[in-house]
């Protein structure tokens, strides 16, 4: 009875906006006190996960991402993409998708993409006569596209929590991430065609001058992604190099940012996000370890065995469950709390663990867009001054398209796994 009351209280507090890390921490402390174990074991788990060498990648990539977002890199990137893709119908739509995906991979799907790139692209889309609803849905959807591409934070965090190799996850995300990008691009092209949006002429001179402007940033995705894929760098080393390199080019080569005026502010802004994420990671670890100790995954599996008889059926239920999770929880909490619970169950049904990771993240990516609590909807509503309801309506066709891609990614494991074999990722 008291357990129930405590649970109810915590859920209510969470729904009314109490920070989630406090809720998880309180739940973990109550659980351990109830089991007559000292709650200090939560801190043992917290310290252990903070000392995980891969975790270093999170502050460093976030710092790099914020420096890029605060500089004029988004403008330069968009200019190059327009020079390349402007010639196809709906070209600007494709530009939006491609640049946002790249950017999200680097900034970790935290709303920075919508603020930095969406804010830049939305007015241009409207100026080039794209329908408002299409444009609003596009920038909202693009805010979490690219989640499956390295070096995205959710991918790294998934690796930390699941103890799967980050390199394998990075390789696995490549094809599914590209599929999401391609289906949305196809939609953008179709809409551009149907609305008779004027195209720009293709000229090598434009591409050349746009590429020259972005010459210092252009190697970043190539070096980072290539370096990780070929095994030259670990994710952590890539993060160290990226943070340092971005710092040097934005502060001293392009001079978009000044050490005196901007450095402390950008550092602080990026580390606020990191602190918020790390707090959740820290306490959630204790909570999930408690649940695993109590053999909750095993019990869940025994329970589900009665209804779920085949792996295919399990995947259907998993998708529905994860979409619901994505509606209610942010991606970082979801990874910390849900992954350790479903991994053993999925294994019992014979689902490949790396494939499971990709399914999980694709679902959560869609969860960014689903009401009532999809993060992108609110950021977009705030950024573009439109009511949440309009944003939801504008995003609907994109959600449907993404759901189709999700089915494909879920039921064709080879899409995730062949790249792992092809690159021989370890």
């Amino acid at each position: 009875m008291t357990t129930f009351l405590w649970g109810l209280l915590l859920v209510l507090l969470a729904l009314f906006g109490t920070p989630l890390f406090v809720i998880f921490g309180a739940a973990a402390m109550l659980a351990f006190v109830g089991a007559e174990i000292s709650p200090s074991v939560i801190m043992v788990d917290l310290n252990r996960i903070f000392m995980n060498p891969t975790l270093i990648a999170i502050p460093l990539f976030t710092f790099a991402g914020y420096m890029l977002a605060e500089s004029k890199a988004p403008t330069r990137l968009v200019n190059l993409a327009r020079a390349v893709f402007g010639v196809i119908p709906g070209g600007l739509g494709v530009v939006t998708l491609v640049t946002c995906a790249l950017f999200t991979a680097f900034t970790g799907a935290s709303g920075v993409t919508i603020i930095a790139l969406g804010g830049l692209l939305y007015p241009i889309l409207l100026k080039e006569q794209y329908p408002e609803r299409f444009a609003l849905g596009l920038v909202t959807t693009s805010g979490s596209l690219g989640l499956l591409f390295p070096p995205s934070l959710p991918l790294i965090l998934y690796g930390v929590v699941s103890s799967l190799s980050i390199d394998k996850l990075f390789a696995a995300g490549l094809v599914p991430g590209t599929i999401l990008l391609v289906v949305l691009a196809a939609f953008a092209i179709q809409r551009g065609w149907a609305n008779g949006i004027p195209r720009t002429r293709f000229a090598w001179s434009n591409v050349r001058s746009a590429a020259r402007a972005v010459i210092w940033e252009l190697p970043l995705p190539v070096v980072v992604i290539g370096g990780i894929y070929t095994g030259t760098f670990t994710a952590t080393e890539a993060a160290s190099v990226t943070a340092f390199y971005v710092f040097v080019i934005e502060f001293f080569v392009y001079r978009d940012l000044s050490v005196k005026k901007d450095l402390a502010r950008v550092m602080k802004d990026s580390m606020l996000l990191v602190g918020a994420i790390l707090m959740i990671i820290g306490v959630a670890m204790g909570l999930t370890n408690y649940l695993v100790d109590q053999e909750v995954p095993g019990k869940l599996f025994d329970f589900s065995k009665q209804f779920i008889t085949s792996p295919a059926m399990f995947l259907v239920i998993l998708n529905i469950f994860l979409l619901l999770v994505g509606m209610m929880m942010d991606i970082f909490s979801a990874i910390m709390v849900i992954v350790p619970l479903i991994m053993p169950i999925a294994e019992a049904y014979g689902i490949n663990q790396v494939h499971l990771g990709i399914i999980f993240l694709t679902n959560l990516e869609i969860g960014y867009l689903t009401p009532p609590v999809g993060l992108n909807l609110f950021i977009s509503s705030l950024r573009f001054g439109r009511p949440v309801f309009s944003v939801v309506r504008a995003t609907l066709p994109y959600i449907l398209i993404l759901l189709v891609a999700l089915v494909l990614i879920t039921y064709v494991p080879q899409l995730s796994l062949w790249m792992v074999d092809a690159l021989n990722a370890k």
Partner: protein, 170 residues
């Protein structure tokens, strides 16, 4: 109220300075280690543990500032639809609840530090491990203070005093 404002402003200034310091050390040392390892085939022995230590420090100091700026990850979909007066009341309640939670987390962390004092080893260069984890209870205490100040500010705002400059979106 004035005292609270001064306290929280002072804390924010110190925390920001520390954050810049810790992140700079982390970034420079992490990069330095990559260069040493890949170019010179060597490395600083205590470099990697120190970088990991910085993650812990940056995490907690960043979290303290995030508490001040109201940027912790939370479900805010439902409070958006409340009237401003109700929302302020809810904010007071949730801030106090959060402060209460982090206070107990600080106690739990202090328990961990005490255990580590008795049985812990050293992190590097002879520094005992309990020094390294001291930031956990300290960090939770800082977060508690920020939550309390936020709660107090929202409670006092009812009387038209102390407009609070809010932190803004993500």
């Amino acid at each position: 109220m004035k005292f609270l404002r001064a306290l929280s402003n002072g804390l924010v200034r110190i925390e920001t300075a520390l954050l810049v310091l810790f992140l700079s050390i982390m970034a420079l040392l992490a990069f330095g280690q990559v260069v040493l390892r890949n170019v010179f085939g060597t490395g600083i022995l205590w470099g990697d543990p120190l970088v990991r230590q910085m993650v812990l420090l940056v995490g907690f100091v960043g979290a303290a500032l995030a508490a001040h700026e109201d940027r912790h990850i939370s479900i805010d979909a439902f409070t958006k639809f409340l009237s401003p007066a109700v929302r302020r009341f809810v904010k007071v309640v949730t801030s106090c609840a959060a402060a209460c939670g982090t206070f107990f987390l600080a106690l739990a962390a202090w328990g961990f530090v005490s255990e580590e004092k008795v049985s812990g080893g050293e992190i590097f260069l002879g520094i005992p491990s309990w020094i390294g984890i001291l930031i956990i209870p300290v960090g939770y205490c800082l977060i508690t203070i920020h939550f309390l100040v936020t709660g107090a500010e929202h409670a006092l705002e009812r009387f038209g005093r102390g407009r609070r400059a809010s932190g803004g979106g993500a």
